[in-house]
């Protein structure tokens, strides 16, 4: 009986420790120089949106932990909207199996498609009030480039990852990836389709590791 109580005490004591045992990685990714914002082609049509500087995001990176992790019990759901003739967000990392919805928030047609090997699809033309919101399941790891058949300047990226642990950096390249399991892993920083940096990391519960990707 004493033995049992001692065991229970151990479990109770360890519970908050197991929460605390989750590791954190933070640091900074050296981002490439920002390239020029796109020019909207409007030779043969009236574009009612501002034709000025488009609200494109600066270059961003995705930092993710590589390892063997359990699949999510239910498929996650995310959204990339088409708003003001851009994709919002312009870069979305998702775990394999995620369903991504593509709501059209503009007062005009979009025609979203991808010819990327990781996911080929074409949603065709649909209105803002289209229900259900057109969506796709991304079940193969890789980079998916989103384009619009009508608005040539629109570009969006979905990075399909085989891990639940990922985060998008801020515009300065800073990131913080928390609630990570302890152990030895590879930490990667996806910067663009040609550039992925990596470092091996030893994560210890309750500790914060600082990693930079120069």
């Amino acid at each position: 009986m004493r033995h049992r109580l001692a065991g229970l005490n151990t479990v109770l004591v360890l519970l908050p420790i197991s929460v605390l045992a989750q590791a954190t990685v933070e640091g900074r990714v050296e981002l490439p120089k920002s390239h020029s914002p796109p020019v909207m082609v409007k030779r043969y049509e009236i574009v009612t949106r501002s034709g000025g500087v488009l609200s494109t995001q600066p270059p961003l990176a995705v930092v993710y932990l590589v390892g063997s992790f359990p699949k999510p019990s239910s498929p996650p759901m995310r959204q990339i909207a088409q708003k003001d003739l851009t994709f919002v967000p312009s870069l979305l990392p998702v775990q394999v199996g995620t369903r991504v919805e593509f709501p059209n928030l503009d007062d005009t047609y979009h025609s979203i498609f991808s010819y990327s090997p990781a996911k080929r699809f074409d949603l065709g033309r649909y209105r803002p009030e289209e229900r259900p919101i057109p969506s796709q399941v991304f079940d193969t790891p890789g980079l998916v480039t989103l384009r619009c058949d009508i608005h040539d300047h629109m570009r969006g990226l979905i990075l399909v990852l085989d891990t639940p642990y990922f985060v998008v950096t801020d515009a300065d390249g800073r990131f913080r990836l928390s609630k990570l399991p302890s152990g030895h892993y590879m930490l990667k920083a996806w910067i663009d389709s040609k550039t992925t940096r990596e470092q091996s990391v030893q994560l210890t519960g309750g500790e914060t590791l600082h990693v930079d990707f120069p």
């Binding site: 020019v39 909207m40 030779r43 574009v47 034709g51 047609y109 010819y115 480039t145």
Partner: protein, 406 residues
Amino acid sequence: MKLLRVLSFCLIASTARALEVEDFFDRLDNTLTIAAFEDNLRARLSGTIDLEAYHFQQPAPGLIDSKIDNLFNPRLTFFLDAQAGSQIYFFAQSRVDRGFDPSARGAQVRLDEYALRFTPWDDGRFNLQVGKFATVVGNFVKRHLSWENPFVDAPLVYENITPINDKEAPDSPLDFVRRFEPASKYEFNPVIWGPSYASGISISGRLGRFDYAAEMKNASLSSRPESWNVTETDFDHPTFSGRVGFRPNQIWNFGLSASDGPYFRSEAEQTLPPGRSIGDYRELVLGQDVSFAWHHLQLWAEFYEARFEVPRVGDADTFAYYLEAKYKFTPQLFGALRWNQQLFDNVPDGTGGQLHWGQDLGRIDVAAGYRFTSHTQLKLQYSFQHETSGPRDDNHLVAAQLTVRF
């Protein structure tokens, strides 16, 4: 044969290395886009490489100018799009090819379009544009470039040559009808010559569900490409055109167009009846257009009634229309079908009788296209043209077009 091998190699390579090809063109796009003044001035250079091959019967259909049955027509097109702030937009289109329309002639370089647009309000209620640019009439202009057009050629009304000759007035009604020879068809004119890149000024805008556009150009809709340059044709005899569009929702788009202006070139002046001038003979066009888009299906239709005031003849009327459908079967494969028809009215023969002034005809176009990547596209087209009056000549055309855009 060599060309086919090269084409096949390029296609296989681009399909197998699709990701790398896409990546290359996206990086090229970034490289060809420049910005200054904190991104308030931005310019982008882009373009297309078109390799077209035609096989047809003589006389060559439409605006194809070739005495042999097979024609290879390569074309390099550059586009410049520039934006200064939110109010100034400039675009230009320059081509290197064998003529504005497919022809067996030698290479030439042209500046087909250039225009400066001023947009004072962000909501697009008013735009002012000056330069040399496509007409505001109808709905074909938006898809007339090779990447957007589901077919290799244009609808019949934009390329079917009629007995109208903008260089010389006819001597009589009989001369008007009988002088037309397919062998010298480049002396004659269609109702609308392609996208009609004439020079001038336009206003346009969008007000709620309505949009409007009006233009004053130096040449009529039927005028030949040489007439579109402001150095060739001044504004002594301008053409006025306009379109009003109604878009009840994103699915439907309806438009009404009209155009009115003299169609003779200056060299025709001396062939006109005494006391008459170029301004006395006009081309009047009324058009209705409709488009529909829903998921992977797109439909377009245009209907044109045209009247040419012909010296020593009277009014020569014609009606032309087409119905066009495009459907995407898969993300990369699409098919398209188009039915075109042009009907000609009678004109007085001068002796109390009537003369049919052109050959009525119908044409069906079938096309399939495949996008290997978002920068590479192959289209195949078959057309069958049948005259329903006159000598009832038929014509079969097979065309292929490989487009690489950057």
